[in-house]
Each structure stands twice: as structure tokens, then as C-alpha cells.
């Protein structure tokens, strides 16, 4: 898919987004609330056949940001879905592993280190942390000392 076509197709999910940012020609960020992330991701992976790259979790000041990075290899463009989880007490978001098997590890990792609950994940066991790591301590959160 060429760059022009990609941009046109992305406008199909416009109503689920709260903004589109283009930092450079080949980097597009789609901003959305956590509850719409599943639908947007499914559209990118299933309809546009973008390649799943990875998920980044960020402990921002007043929310958690979950960034789903996808790549359109034909035009070398990254499309990143930036989902905001506003509930800091019980952060949760729908898992994408049921339709992207490649996301299994990274969702388990973020569950471990950032304490995000990926709802409907088929296998949300620990991946990174040791078995004897205390519950409720999430090393990538800002309050954990470096």
C-alpha cells in the first residue's frame, strides 16, 4: 500500500480517534481512548494488513499510554496507535492477542512491569518478573526508584 492510499484508508477509523499526528512524513500517530484501541488495532492488522511491530507502555503523569506500533513496509511508514488509559487505579485495556498472536509476549510483559490488565488475554502469566517478585510492584512505573 502506497503512502497516499494508507492515509486515505486511515481516515476510515476517524470517528474512533481523538486526533491524528504526523511527526514526519513516515511516522503517523493515531490518538484514541483505551476503549477504542481494540477496534482501531483490528482495523490496522486485519483490514490494512499492516505488520505488527511491538507495544510500548508509558507511565505518563495522569494516565497510562499504550502505544501499538504497526509498520506499512511498502512505504516504510510507522503507524502508531496511542491509547490513553485514564483510570490509574485499575488500568485495563482489551487484549489484541486473540487476533495478533505476536502480541502475546509483549502484553504479558506490560502486565508484569506496568501493571496493565489486558482483558481477554489467553495466557496472562508472568513473563519478565521472577516467581517470587512481590505482587503489586510494577518496576516500570515512575514511583519505583531507579
Amino acid at each position: 500500500m502506497q503512502q497516499e492510499e494508507l492515509k486515505n484508508r486511515l481516515s476510515e477509523v476517524k470517528d474512533k480517534l481523538i486526533g491524528i499526528e504526523e511527526t514526519t512524513e513516515r511516522r503517523i500517530y493515531l490518538l484514541c481512548e483505551a476503549e477504542n484501541a481494540y477496534a482501531v488495532n483490528k482495523f490496522l492488522f486485519k483490514e490494512l494488513s499492516l505488520r505488527f511491530v511491538i507495544v510500548t507502555g508509558i507511565d505518563s503523569d495522569d494516565c497510562f499510554e499504550i502505544l501499538y506500533h504497526f509498520s506499512n513496509d511498502e512505504s516504510g511508514c510507522f503507524v502508531t496507535v496511542k491509547a490513553f488509559i485514564r483510570d490509574r487505579e485499575n488500568p485495563a485495556i482489551e487484549s489484541i492477542t486473540p487476533f495478533v498472536p505476536a502480541a502475546e509476549w509483549i502484553e504479558r510483559e506490560l502486565h508484569d512491569i506496568l501493571g496493565i490488565d489486558f482483558m481477554n488475554h489467553p495466557n496472562l502469566r508472568r513473563l519478565i518478573l521472577a516467581d517470587d517478585w512481590p505482587d503489586g510492584v510494577y518496576p516500570l512505573r515512575k514511583e519505583v526508584k531507579k
Partner: protein, 405 residues
């Protein structure tokens, strides 16, 4: 049955300087056939992403080059590209070529390393010795240019730390001719060997559909008919100016992956030669004073696939988030598709075919339903070699040992 498998049964092994991650595979077997595979990782989690938030922008390249000794040019470059994207930096022409040369030399030595290990796994130790012998001069060249055989630390925001002195270019070109000739001999010996065709074809097949689902990258994807390569798709450094081809095969088996890597080695040699001949004059770095607030994605085609770095800056002198994804992170889970239904004797090879870091395969054990270790790594290696010997006999290959040749 699964319930008895939940606790790992091998202790954490010794640290190995080559490894990117330690991994522990638990295979469920039905006789000789693998029916399920479970992977445990993170025995040696170093918390690099968290650590990175405590370091200044110009210190991080040295940290991320230590993520993996083999990909120690790719990780810093991906990080630097993310930072340069935030700062909107245009680097000097010469720096783009120097980056290309270092990264392609890295690919040559990494692919030769893999060919050697692949040979070792199926009992062709001559291949191992040859490949590692021809890899050595590549490391010497890297040492001469950057000062280190690995962990080159040669990129910085705004360009490169060390230039390639014009006087050593003829020497590098001469060395490359020798390496090319030797690699050609090695490649012919491998691709013309009927035993290897019989041993590697149809083994550990990763279908194109599975390759998409598991989002694999690099030679693992290109061996399954997915023609993706960051160097071609989102050209960085000087790749856009060079004449080269993306190598891909459609079969998805171990043989296809071997072919991809061997042929890529020649493309890399070609690229280094062209870059050296075209090397522009001028400085190799510009000063970058500060990094503005923003976010950037950098990716690089490492020898094993796409290395991805995401960096976010708040305008201070340290990133507030730095995400790293090494290619093995997506390539390793594809074992779930390529190992199930395989013979035990093929498992080491199938795992090795995606070129995870060396230690991964050492964490291998087979357990039966009663949670006992029934085959350790040594035994699996032996089975793999015995199968090669059997095939040799069946197709009437000469009786001599390759080691004697």
C-alpha cells in the same frame, strides 16, 4: 498434562557474553513428535529500558550496544535514528556511508557465525570451523576501524565517533576480496551438498500465513516469502544510494533460511565495497546541542531482523521512555508454528534456524508428561547428528568424514 509443566526444570545457566536473552523451552512430545512448546524467558532481565531513563542521550548508545554483542552496531543505530528524528538532525554524507559499512560488516560476521552454528548442530563441524575462520578477518577489520571487535560504539547523535581513515580503504577492499572468495567456496560446498538438501529441506517450515501472524522479521520472514527489509523499505544511512537486492525464498524451511543468509552475505560484501569506493569526503559528525521534546521511532535491519527503538523526550537531557524491541522477541515465538509436528531430531535445528542468540538453544530440554527431563541439550544434538548420518547412508554419500577432508 499441561499442569505438570508449569515449573521450569532447569536452573539458570552460566552467563554467556554472546547472548541477548536466556530462554527455556519446554517441549511436550508424543513419541518422537513434538506436540506443544512452551517458552520461558527473562532469566537474565537487565532492565535496560529502565536504566536508559537514568542516562543522558550521549551515554545510551554505549548501553544499548551491550544489549547484544553480535548486533552491537544495530541497536545503537536504531536508537540514534529515533533521537535524530526527534531533533530533526541531518547527518553528514560521510557519516551515512560509515554507518552503512559498519552495519554491513556486522551482518557479514553474524551470518557467517550462524552458518557455522548451523553446521555444528547437524554434525558438520568442518563447516563450523571454516565459517568461523573466515569470520575472523571481518572482526579484525571492525577492530581496526572502531577499536573494538564487538560493541563498537561508533555512532553518536549527529554522526559517527570514528571515521574510516582513507589509508586503510585499500586494505579493507583487499580483505573483502578474500572473504568473498572464501564465502563463495563455503556457499557452494553447502548448497551443492545432497546430504544437506535432504537434511534441511522441508524441516521446520514456517508458512507465510504463520509468518504474518507471528510478525516475524529479517531472514526468518524472507525465508518464508515475505520480502521485507528495513534497509529497502525505509532506507536509512546510505542504503538508498547503493545497488543491492533483497534476497527472499518461498519455502519457509531451514534450507530457505540458510540460502537467504548465505546470499545476503554476498549482498553485504557488495554493499561495503560500493560504499568504500563512493565514500564522500568531509566530516563524520555534527554537534547536536540539545534534544527538543517529542517522540521518535528508529528501526534498523539487524542481522536477525528489524531492531526497533522508540524514544520520548521531554526536552531534558535524558529520555523519559526508551522502548527496545530486538528481532528475536518476535522471531522466537514463531517456534510455536514451526516446531509442532516436527521430529525431535529436527528441533534444535529449527530453533537455530531463526538465529536466536546462541544460549537460547542451550536452555533446551524435553520433558514427558511426568515432568522428568528425558532428553537434555546434548542428547538432542546427538539425535540431530545421527539423523544426518542416517541420511548420508541412505543416499549413499561417501563414507569419509568431512572432518578428514
Amino acid at each position: 498434562m499441561k499442569k505438570t509443566m508449569q515449573k521450569p526444570i532447569l536452573a539458570v545457566g552460566p552467563f554467556h557474553p554472546l547472548q541477548e536473552e536466556m530462554e527455556f523451552f519446554q517441549l511436550t512430545v508424543d513419541g518422537e513428535i513434538v506436540t506443544d512448546i512452551d517458552v520461558r524467558i527473562s532469566y537474565n532481565h537487565r532492565g535496560i529500558e529502565k536504566l536508559s531513563e537514568t542516562l543522558q542521550y550521549d551515554q545510551i548508545p554505549y548501553l544499548v550496544s551491550r544489549i547484544c554483542g553480535i548486533c552491537s552496531a544495530s541497536h545503537p543505530l536504531a536508537y540514534i535514528q529515533a533521537v535524530e528524528e526527534i531533533a530533526g538532525v541531518e547527518i553528514p554524507e560521510r557519516a551515512r556511508y560509515v554507518r552503512t559499512i559498519i552495519n554491513e560488516l556486522e551482518r557479514i560476521h553474524s551470518h557467517l557465525l550462524w552458518v557455522g552454528l548451523g553446521g555444528h548442530f547437524i554434525g558438520y563441524d568442518t563447516v563450523f570451523m571454516w565459517a568461523w575462520k573466515y569470520r575472523e578477518p571481518v572482526l579484525d577489520l571492525l577492530e581496526e576501524i572502531t577499536g573494538n571487535r564487538n560493541n563498537y560504539g561508533n555512532v553518536r547523535v549527529g554522526g559517527c565517533r570514528e571515521d574510516i581513515p582513507d589509508e586503510i580503504i585499500p586494505k579493507i577492499l583487499k580483505e573483502l576480496d578474500v572473504i568473498e572468495q572464501k564465502t563463495e567456496m563455503l556457499t557452494k560446498a553447502i548448497l551443492d551438498d545432497p546430504v544437506l538438501h535432504a537434511r534441511l529441506k522441508g524441516v521446520g517450515v514456517l508458512s507465510k500465513k504463520d509468518a504474518v501472524a507471528y510478525a516475524v522479521t529479517g531472514p526468518t520472514a524472507r525465508g518464508s516469502g515475505i520480502k521485507i527489509d528495513v534497509r529497502h523499505d525505509d532506507p536509512y544511512a546510505a542504503y538508498g544510494d547503493l545497488d543491492w537486492n533483497v534476497i527472499s525464498q518461498t519455502e519457509g524451511d531451514v534450507f530457505a533460511k540458510a540460502v537467504v543468509r548465505l546470499l545476503e552475505t554476498f549482498e553485504s560484501i557488495k554493499m561495503v565495497k560500493e560504499s568504500l569506493n563512493k565514500l564522500p569526503k568531509g566530516p563524520v559528525a555534527i554537534e547536536v546541542k540539545e534534544i527538543p521534546p517529542g517522540e521518535g521511532c528508529g528501526h534498523v535491519e539487524a542481522p536477525r531482523g528489524e531492531t526497533f527503538h522508540y524514544v520520548r523526550s521531554d526536552g531534558g537531557n535524558r529520555p523519559i521512555r526508551h522502548k527496545v524491541r530486538a528481532p528475536s522477541y518476535v522471531n522466537v515465538p514463531s517456534f510455536k508454528a514451526s516446531c509442532i509436528g516436527q521430529h525431535l531430531a529436527d528441533v534444535t535445528l529449527t530453533l537455530a534456524a531463526v538465529d536466536p542468540c546462541y544460549s537460547c538453544t542451550e536452555r533446551l530440554a524435553v520433558i514427558d508428561g511426568h515432568n522428568n527431563v528425558i532428553h537434555d541439550y546434548e542428547a538432542l544434538l546427538r539425535m540431530s547428528r545421527e539423523k544426518t548420518a542416517r541420511i548420508r547412508k541412505e543416499i549413499g554419500a561417501p563414507e569419509f568424514k568431512l572432518e578428514d577432508a
